[in-house]
Structure formats: C-alpha cells, structure tokens
Subunit: 356 residues, 2 copies
Amino acid sequence: MAAPSHAFILAGGRGTRFWPLSRHANPKQLLDFTGEGSLLSLTLDRIEPLIPASRQWVITSDDLAPAVAQMLPDIPRDHIIAEPVGRNTAPAVALAAALLEREDPEATFAVLPSDHLISPAKVFRSSLQQALELAAAEDVLITFGMKATRPETGYGYIEAAEDLNGGARRVAAFCEKPDRETAQTYVDSRRHYWNSGMFAWRASVVLAGLERHLSDVVAPCREAAKQLGTSGFASALELAYGQVPSISIDYGLMERADNVVVLPATFDWNDVGHWVAMRDLWPRDAQGNAAHGEILAVDSAENIVYGPGRLTALVGVRDLVVVHTEDATLVCSAEHAQEVRGVLDRLKERGLTQYL
Amino acid sequence: MAAPSHAFILAGGRGTRFWPLSRHANPKQLLDFTGEGSLLSLTLDRIEPLIPASRQWVITSDDLAPAVAQMLPDIPRDHIIAEPVGRNTAPAVALAAALLEREDPEATFAVLPSDHLISPAKVFRSSLQQALELAAAEDVLITFGMKATRPETGYGYIEAAEDLNGGARRVAAFCEKPDRETAQTYVDSRRHYWNSGMFAWRASVVLAGLERHLSDVVAPCREAAKQLGTSGFASALELAYGQVPSISIDYGLMERADNVVVLPATFDWNDVGHWVAMRDLWPRDAQGNAAHGEILAVDSAENIVYGPGRLTALVGVRDLVVVHTEDATLVCSAEHAQEVRGVLDRLKERGLTQYL
C-alpha cells in the first residue's frame, strides 16, 4: 500500500483578465463566478473525497493568505503557505516536495491550479487516483494532457509518444504556444495535448529532477521547509525566496527531464482564461447571451454579462463583455477579452489605483 | 407698445429614449445632462431676461407637476398647469390662449418645448423678441424654422415661400418626416427648414385659427380656463380634457392655416433626441469618446458614456452608448439609440415595472 497522497494547490496568481471583478486583493481564484463557491473552494471540494483536507495544501501570496485561510476553514493552518514574493511555479513545487519529504520522501502529491473548472468531479478524481498510483509505482513526472479539441493559440501543447501501461504516454516534446496554423496541425495529429498545469509525482522523484535541472532551487526550499510550524518559517521562506530564481516548473523541469509522461484527461476542463469562458458557465438565452444577473436583450446576441442585483439592457449589440461592479463597469468586445489586463496598466499610469 | 408677452413651456413628455436615466417619474425634461441644470430649468433660465418668471407658464402632466413646481420655485404656482391626461399639443395651446385671453385677448405668447438645448441664449432671445413683435403687429401664426444642415429623417420640414418683412417667410408647405433621398433634396433646395415645435402668436389669432380648424378643442379649454386659481380648476380641466381630441398643433392647425409664417432661426438648436446627441454636449477625448463620468478607453472610439461617480472602462469597442444608473445599465449601439424605447415595452411585457 502506497503512502497517503497530498495535494498542493497553487493560488498565488492575480487573474487580471477578470477586472473589474478581480482586484489585487480579490483575484480570480477567490471569485465565485457561478454562485457555487470560489474557484479555489471548488478545486478543494473536488478532490476532498480522494485527498481529505488534512492532506490539502495551498501555496499563495502572503497578502492573500488571510483571505484564503478564511475561505478554507477545514485545511490545517500550517498547510496554507504564504509566499513572500512570487517566484513562478518551480520554487513552489520544490517547497512542496521538501515539506513532504521530512515525513516521507516517497509520498506522492498532485500539484493543481486553483483557478480552473473541471467536471465531472468523479471522473477527475478517478484520473487523479490513476496518476498518483502511477507516481507511486514508477519514477516518472506525470502531467495531465487535455485533448486538443480546437486550434487554441493560448495554450502550450504536449506531443505524446508511445503508450505506456495504464493509459499514460511518454512525452516526445513540449511545444510553446503555437500560431493558428501550427495549432491546427497539432489538433489534426491527435498526438498533441494541451498542457493543463496539473502534475503528479513522488517527492523524491521530483526533487531528484529539480536537483539535476534546477539545482539552485532545491537547497533554499529544503532549508525553509525545516522551519514549518515554527515562528521562524516566514523569515526562513523569505530568505529562501530571496535566493531562488523565478521560473516555471514546465520550463525549468518538465521540458528538460527524460522521465516525463502525459496522462490524457477524460474529464472536461475549462481554464477560465478570460470573460468569454463564461459562455460555458452561465445560463444562455435563445440568442446566445450568457448572463449572471438579469438581462434584457433587444436585437442583441452572443453577449456575456455580469451584473448581479441589477438589470442590464442590451440594444443592437453583439459579442460584447459587460461587467458591472460597485465602482467600475467594463464594456469590452469579446475578441479583445484577452486585453483586459491592459486596463490595469492604464489605471496605474493615470494614478487610478483605487480600481486595481 | 404691445402688451407684455408670456411663454408657455410644454413639459408633459416622457423622453423614453433616455432610459435608464429617464424614468416615468423622472423624464427627459427633468434630467440634468450637463451638470448645469435640467433641460426644463435651462429653458426657463434662457428666456428669463426677456420673459420674467411671473409670465412663464409650464404645462405638464399631473404626476410630474409637484416635481416641476419644486424645480421652478420662481414661477407662480397657478402657472404650473397639470394636465390630467396627455392630449398632444393642440389642446395645450388652446388652453394657453384661453388662459391669457381672460386678461387680454391681444397678449402675445411663445410656445416652447421643455427638452431642447439652444445657444447662444442671447441670440435666441433676440429671435424670440422679433417673433413676438411680429405676432403683435400681424395676424400670423409664427413657427421657428431651423436651417436644415443635414438630410435628417427624424424631423418634419417646412418649405418656405416668399420673404416677408423682418426676416420671416411665408410657408408654402409642411412636409412629413422624409426618407433620406427626399431629405437631401430639401437640404439642397435651401428653402426647407426643420420644424422645431417653437411658436409665437397672439391669443386672439391662435384662438381664431383653432376655432376654424379645430373647433371642438376651443370651447372646453375656455370653460376650464375660467376656473384658474379656484379649487375647481383641476376638475374643470379634467372635464375639458375628457372632451378634446388628442392632436398636435402642427397637424391640427399649422398645416391647415393660411396665415403661417416661418422665422428662420439664427441660433444653434439641439433637440436632444436620444443618447447620441450627447456627443455635442459632453467633453470628448482624442478618440471621440464623449463622457459624463470617468472613462478609460483602450482601442475604443466614438463611444458615449454616462456614469458619474464611477469608472467605465472600454476595450475594443466603437460607437456604443453605455449608461449606468443605480439599478440598471444600458449598452446600446449608437445606430440603435432611437430604439431604446423598445426596452420599455419589453420591461412591461416581463413585468419589470420597477425599471420603468
């Protein structure tokens, strides 16, 4: 019987493309888009039957940690790790592995984003269990691959090689975000998967990989990990994060290692990348208008409206994103939804920091 | 020396194309679009140096009368006439003339809309004075004609005939709202003016015209006028308005009479017909975005935004009207601005009467 598995949820992002709903102190993963809970809460609820709260961890930024702790009362307090500064995902993974190896170097753990939507939960747990069992049995670094159903240019791709036992496949290559034409060849190949940013492995295996490919990350994280549960942990982490480079686990480890496998996902996945993703989350009327809040649409189709507690009337408009919050309103064309983060730069330029 | 002139301001309209700012209890003429006062207040302020408050009258609907009275503290209380029901403009003009003839049948008066913007005020007053002097001297019905500067299809036109003394011209014909092609021939002719809905005449002259062309309107209004200043006025007016037809002064009198003259306007006129008119009223940025309230525009041009006390961010949008109020938001394409009134029908259908 393998050791109990853990889950580390990465919740340090800012999700600026959901402005004006997302703010510096209330980023995407803390938002409740559907009325069923925040993306972070839903992420933990989803794995709970497989990995209970006592083995769930959240790595977030120190300014968000209090809000995260309040949102997740069931998770042990010292499992909410407050990063003093963002250093991308590789140091977070190294820290996670270092924290677990103190008890059991052979412990398996999953690394999951906090701001994606996945369903059905049962299918996801089954897939996750399969990954953790594979990680327990083999010295592999497992990444979940999403079936590439459209020529999406916003994701990285994973090219799969031969099948292994249990549905996993060797990885032939990681591919950067492609242009449209290349993306289409990936979709047509049926050997390419979207890189989801979800991983599973044993602490010892990922630490060995990091020591080989990102040696300067491991030692500082191990030093900090020793202090968990003591009053010195925060300053130890600050010291460590002052020493490690800022680099992603994909770039720093996965693309360099030769023991990477991809596990094709059988569940539905939505990375909730920008407001247009709400078309899949919110009720839509006969004209394709998706809304959270009351709308009245006249000669209007395919719009996306967030405005709880008020009426939003649309007249003669199409493919717009309309988001109403207490102090700010966004009106954006759907095709420009990726560019909402540009608003934040302009707000800073103009000194309108109260809206950040 | 002619008798002192009066002014009757017609303020019974609803201006539904300014929803969601205009509401049943707060229609267009009571709205302050510029921060300088409501359209109604501005109308009265504009004529004040020529026609003082003591000779200003407002004809409005009975539900709006209290708000009108509060907005216009300088006008005598019995000069605010509360119509029990809307009957278009001909009965209002008949009532106005009947009210004045009790004191002096040869009194001159102007009839003015309450929801237009006119500038410069001094030029307007000079034109109004000229009209009232002409009305005192001649048995004519005077309408102000606006120079047709573009092939507007939303207005009626007045075709002018030969010049009279003092700049006025005989009227050859009233023309219904034309199609675009016809409108262009009107503009090219240089003999056509927009019908502005502003008039001047003597009480005796307009009553004579009405008796001839709309005989069933005059007698009930005269009966009601007798009761002004008594406790019986409201019920007398209700009785009168129960008897008169609903018809406009243009259709009922001006198009039928043979003593109509047009006085070409020398002032700027904006009938503030719908939200797009705000392009001429509000500050515009370098991309042509007109706003009342703070905006942040990224790749966005020619939009019209009302949102005082909040930030409205625009990303990748063009030619939109965005209006924010406490409980409702409108997003409308500029070319559909005329159709905003359609929202009200839909609100009624859906029982959302709190937004009317």
